[in-house]
Symmetry: C2
Subunit: 462 residues, 2 copies
Amino acid sequence: MTSVDTILAYAAARRDDSRARWFEWLRIPSVSAQPPHAGDCRRAAAWLAEQLRGIGFTAELKDTAGHPVVLGHHSGPEGATRHLLFYGHYDVQPAEPMELWTSPPFEPVMVEGPNGPRVVARGAVDDKGQVMMWLEALRFWHDTQGGPPCRITVMVEGEEEVGSKNLPDFLEAHADALRADVVVISDSNMWNIDTPSIVTSVRGLLYTQLDITAANKDLHSGLFGGSALNPINLITRILGDLKDDTGEILIPGFYDDVPELSAEQRAQWDALKFDEGAFLGSVGLSVPAGEMTRGPLERLWARPTVDVNGIWGGYTGEGAKTVIPSDAHAKVSFRLVAGQSATKVLAGFRDFIVARLPEDAQVKIQVFSIGEGLKIPSDSPFIRAAQVALTAEFGKPAVLQGGGGSLPVVSQIKEILDLDCLLVGFGLDDDQVHSPNEKFDVVCFERGIDSHVRLLAALATA
Amino acid sequence: MTSVDTILAYAAARRDDSRARWFEWLRIPSVSAQPPHAGDCRRAAAWLAEQLRGIGFTAELKDTAGHPVVLGHHSGPEGATRHLLFYGHYDVQPAEPMELWTSPPFEPVMVEGPNGPRVVARGAVDDKGQVMMWLEALRFWHDTQGGPPCRITVMVEGEEEVGSKNLPDFLEAHADALRADVVVISDSNMWNIDTPSIVTSVRGLLYTQLDITAANKDLHSGLFGGSALNPINLITRILGDLKDDTGEILIPGFYDDVPELSAEQRAQWDALKFDEGAFLGSVGLSVPAGEMTRGPLERLWARPTVDVNGIWGGYTGEGAKTVIPSDAHAKVSFRLVAGQSATKVLAGFRDFIVARLPEDAQVKIQVFSIGEGLKIPSDSPFIRAAQVALTAEFGKPAVLQGGGGSLPVVSQIKEILDLDCLLVGFGLDDDQVHSPNEKFDVVCFERGIDSHVRLLAALATA
């Protein structure tokens, strides 16, 4: 047997142990957005560092202005020069709304699904489950081969779900330790349950909160209606203006730096025969809501969007209250594509708002996340090596696809460390990431472990 | 001394007692919109019935499908035929947002203000404070004269703040007991602290809640942004379309039945020299936000409006969550003027929404209140008699004004009992009705008691 076959056999005999460790980590409610969970975030980080030390890594928690980063290192075999940097995040999205979970979000359970057993918990896949896959692969290399086949640095942050805002400082401060050959990230999905995927472009994220204020107190709409400015009416006018009837975004200059798809790229994506009807049908929808003039994968992977992620103001309790409130609020985010400047989009959005703001209204714009879209060269030796490993595992190569979501870290790593990322993840589109009842199919988790065992071998020699 | 002078002297010697009773009632948190306060509503009703019985009335709680109505009666002097119906409400608006109160909303306190002492509490003026004024006047007539100068029926409901939806059934069921000559209501404001006011028109209220749903679960905006319908974006588009840049409401047919002001009415109101700058300045605003082509009092009293009173959906916690939610909600209300049909406006609003609803979105429209605007003849003998009483108290007659707010009961009384109302209230525009720190100036409360002592004498012989 080759060493890879030995490791895979060893891993296959230890599925229960892998799952037990995964569950242990999921039980720590490391919700980065909610200050009361700060201690849990640190606990989740400490747990991971301990695991790394158990398989021959040096590992410690590095403090940041926010939640700590777990930084681990293994020098690999004597004289190894190939250096892989594994990135992941131990923080998870808030679990709210709690009442929609069929089991408590931080008590992982295994239930049967169409693809066999699945694990339901917040973070089951995003990103604890995906980090666990490569952690387990490293463990099995350690147990059977004495360690990984090359130098490995591990960097797992705790603020991905809140925009990785302290990561740039961290990357600057630890640039020497982090200067690897390529960065491996598992935080994306497979094309389908039989077909792996490598993401070669990701959208950026600009996430803002608008706080609009008008009168200095809540008013009675009977006394003041017809005279006083209503900030909710105003915020709906501003946000309602964001798109036209065809789904095009109306902020002046918004599309200036958005590149058109190449004919080759369009042909590749057309060949995937993406079934948008089924994609939307799985969540109870039927008609695409984005730009009407664009194709489905183009809209998901290569076009910018704007979504209002939250809105609130005035009376939201039961029954009627005839109030003209003093303030209204919204969380508004943009997915950006490679080429767009996030700061330019933010400036355009600010101008768009200010142009619609009457004299008596004030707006505060908070920025929670600002990351740009990115394209990754799809002809690198690392992607070629990964294709070999994934083909060995799945019997076919990975689809080279765009990513609709945002990994600010990919942009930050490119900018600060000048490194490309290999984005190979094992989630599925129906994993309910960020929603109640987030799940990860066990078959995906286990093939993810095996894929990472193979990827380590392939990338070490690429 | 005339009997009125005797009563006024007696009342003046008992200010502390009046205030103590007022405070006792304010301490009962009778918030009709919030089911946990149902017991408090009944307690507030029972308190009032007990007070009425203490001054020679028969009084009982009449159950409705919602909160009970207090119904009291006094047959007046032997052979009295003149019959006054006093209406009021013992329910109050929710006190939220609690954190903006400078003292607990249901623990009334007396603090100094520009007009001398004022009482701060939820319901201080609306409408417990105003009901207390005529209750105290009736008490002092009872204590000094043995009873009121004519037949009196008292009807105080517990659902005014949630649209008086069970009152029509009550009026139908008790029509015989309620068939008086005129209905006296104190639930409005004075023109200013020195000038009383009688309201001769009120706007109606149509209060709705929109519940818009799209996907069957919350979605990740990275995975679904550009493809999935976002119900918050949608609700902002619908509500943002409600008015044009001049403040005109764009629902087709909305203004069809809105009468233009008569030249005489316009001249009367112009003569009041309403200072809209000061009115808005008192709440931190400077520029009127209603229809730009209309005058200030016309906009407040004689033009319909639409206000979004509340909005919510998606993630509203701290920080960022990149969700496309499954649903979005808003409370939307219209102030209507005499001539407009509330059901026709509701139908027009429904059509307006449905015309903007894509195939994948569903809307539910709940109606919490539906009452029409009303004009009251300003030349009735009761208004003339009230002017005599108010002139005696204030040294000048009351301003005959429009009312911006809504008293659904005024329409219901007109429709079911065919009675006109005499709307004479003693609040001030800065009373912060429906807002945190609602207050009632003690001087207004006390002159209100004295005015009601005089009104009873005047109306009994009108």
